[in-house]
Symmetry: C2
Subunit: 404 residues, 2 copies
């Protein structure tokens, strides 16, 4: 698979986060010739927060993480993630696999199995060959390395065409707090949440409950604002681990909140940029709605519309389809108050095409790789921004192939 044309130029230099060590290995879960399992060790005193898919058919690892995540514990912890098999819809066997992996990690690292968090991503409904993973845990433990985050980012990929990483530093009272995150995801991407696995590490000091609340709020502004294909995964997991090693307390710190937000938004955008078959990165900015919720409805209706997405793929400034999507969204809308812009070009206003708009200006704009569609509903102050990509032959080719 060729790298997405929307990919960043290169994987960023991610800083060492004190208190976190990484290892990855090729266990042959499904893929051959590549790494497919990552192990992360988190030092004693780390706060771990998580946000997970709301799917009614979520995977065994997700159910296990949800049961464990809110425990306040200062004990040493671990994350283990495999790609190639999602261990979703695998009945009681799925739960047994999770338990077996957690027990093996706990034994090898001499930690409590209740402090091992797992995730699996890949095909649904096939038994996870957990013995292959367990057979590699000793190797993983031996290979743990503070510099191993790049390899971890690669081991969790499935149909991704590039590894995803993001970082931020924030100075608080003259001291530096570091954040480094990795993600995977490219198809089955929709809010609540995208089909993603995201792991973010920081040396900040913050209590588990505070980190959990912050993570939930920021997820709504980042990962819950992206959509590739409106399909929601059974495996979505976002875990944020704060080791406290910097000694800097970030509770209620605006600087830390902004830095964490920026890392999350960067990773969310990278997931869209790796959307299956994507050739355009699209920001849909909705303003003037009756409520923020209405604005979000309109944004998602546009971002998920196959007709809008295929028009973008074809570089067709078919703004009539945006009118259609506004109309079908269920949000309060008034034809004559609606204003639609492509970038800075006013396309439609006062219930009709703008008198200044030319088809040539629209067509030229659509040739760009990064597009902004702005819709003002002209009703009140509700606003929301959603990010998506186009719908191309590439998406069909990837997903109509036999069992990706």
């Amino acid at each position: 698979m060729e790298t997405s044309p929307l990919a960043p130029a290169r994987f960023p230099d991610l800083p060492v986060i004190e208190g976190v060590r990484f290892a990855s290995v090729a266990a042959g879960v499904r893929y051959t010739g590549r790494t497919d399992v990552m192990l992360v060790e988190l030092q004693e005193g780390t706060s771990i927060a998580g946000v997970f898919t709301k799917s009614a058919t979520r995977s065994a690892p997700v159910l296990d993480c949800q049961a464990k995540i809110s425990a306040v514990s200062a004990a040493r912890s671990a994350l283990l993630v495999n790609s190639g098999n999602s261990n979703a819809f695998t009945g009681a066997a799925g739960e047994q696999s999770v338990q077996a992996i957690c027990d093996a990690v706990a034994d090898t690292l001499s930690i409590d199995a209740a402090r091992v968090f797992t995730a699996s991503t890949g095909v649904i409904g096939e038994r996870l060959p957990h013995d292959r993973i367990i057979a590699k845990i000793a190797d993983l433990a031996t290979g743990l390395d503070a510099h191993g985050i790049d390899g971890a980012a690669r081991a969790i990929m499935t149909t991704d065409t590039f590894p995803k990483g993001a970082t931020a530093e924030v100075d608080i009272d003259g001291q530096t707090v570091r954040i480094a995150g990795i993600a995977k995801g490219s198809g089955m991407i929709a809010p609540d949440m995208a089909t993603m696995l995201v792991y973010i590490f920081t040396d900040a000091k913050i209590a588990q409950a505070d980190l959990q609340a912050l993570l939930a709020t920021l997820t709504d502004q980042t990962f819950n604002c992206i959509t590739v294909d409106s399909d929601t995964s059974t495996s979505d997991s976002l875990i944020c681990a704060a080791t406290g090693a910097s000694g800097v307390d970030v509770t209620d710190s605006a600087g830390f909140t902004k830095a964490l937000h920026d890392v999350m938004l960067d990773l969310a955008h990278q997931v869209v940029r790796d959307g299956e078959g994507a050739t355009k990165f699209v920001e849909v900015r909705v303003t003037g709605a009756a409520t923020n919720a209405d604005a979000r409805k309109v944004g998602l209706a546009i971002a998920n519309s196959p007709l809008v997405k295929t028009a973008i793929a074809g570089e067709d400034p078919n703004w009539g389809r945006i009118v259609m999507a506004v109309g079908k969204s269920g949000a309060q809308a008034n034809r004559d108050a609606l204003r639609i812009c492509f970038g800075n070009i006013v396309v439609a206003e006062n219930g009709w095409v703008s008198p200044h708009y030319t088809e040539k200006a629209g067509a030229d704009y659509m040739k760009k790789q990064e597009l902004t569609i702005a819709v003002d509903l002209g009703i009140a102050g509700g606003m929301s921004t959603v990010w998506t990509c186009d719908l191309t032959h590439g998406y069909i080719t990837i997903n109509a192939d036999y069992r990706s």
Copy 2:
């Protein structure tokens, strides 16, 4: 455009409906070398009922029809429909076009403009060249013919690859009541309602209010159960006209209700069979839900999922994506009670793949052109059936082309 592989073998023989005459003409609204306007004259005493899109950006003709439809009138009436331009999001000019057309039809046929119902289908946001239509109204009036329904079915087509017609006869107390209907639609098809125009004629005798209530009920069981691409049109209109010429009162007649239902379902299925790029016709049958509404949520989540639809296109029995769609639907679901079948093949049950299922059996089934996906949620008695098609390269090609 080649005819859809899912098209019926031929256009049905539609009976003459006493009291209805049809004409069609090439007015050059947008297309050249084909008819694009139909006129229908309905005799005095005809009851006219209608169901329309709920889009907040619905077209000028839809708004005009909605304002007129519930008037109880015995006066002679007319329908005028053009293809090629939807007269949607065309500001005040759109309303002026509708008025001009209604006035011209009223003058030519010597009827009240309040009894002229129009519809327009095609591109959104471009001014309707109504002069071209008005210039042909005298020709249309001269050409009115009780046998003209086939030509009318062709004149209303846009991206359709075949004209759509259906008919039924019902005997009531030894007398025959006839129903004949035509439809257009192939993309921008989703419930509430599909992007469709549907015209159904019958010689039954029934009051307007009774016909309206019946039509609304049957629409929920037919046209509101189909989806091609989840996109809702700004122009959807369904009109049913009962001339009363048979003299047979069908108020509360179960036989008439069934016959009308069958005609509507036949037309609805034909719209799916002409879904843009479709190569498979898919029935999604959901049972065992907590409520009928929950069953419908699950059915639409499956039928609208790009990942399910591309798997079907690829003849991949990827039932994990059906599990995903159930999970994301928002309906109450219990992994271990879920049962999924392809036709008669039990694929998954008890929270996992069925022990009797083989990948070969699933792959062989998916090669069929007509598929049934049955999902039993195992919770209660709620049920719903939805019809859809696959998502193929053909859909992308049709819709990523410049301005269809």
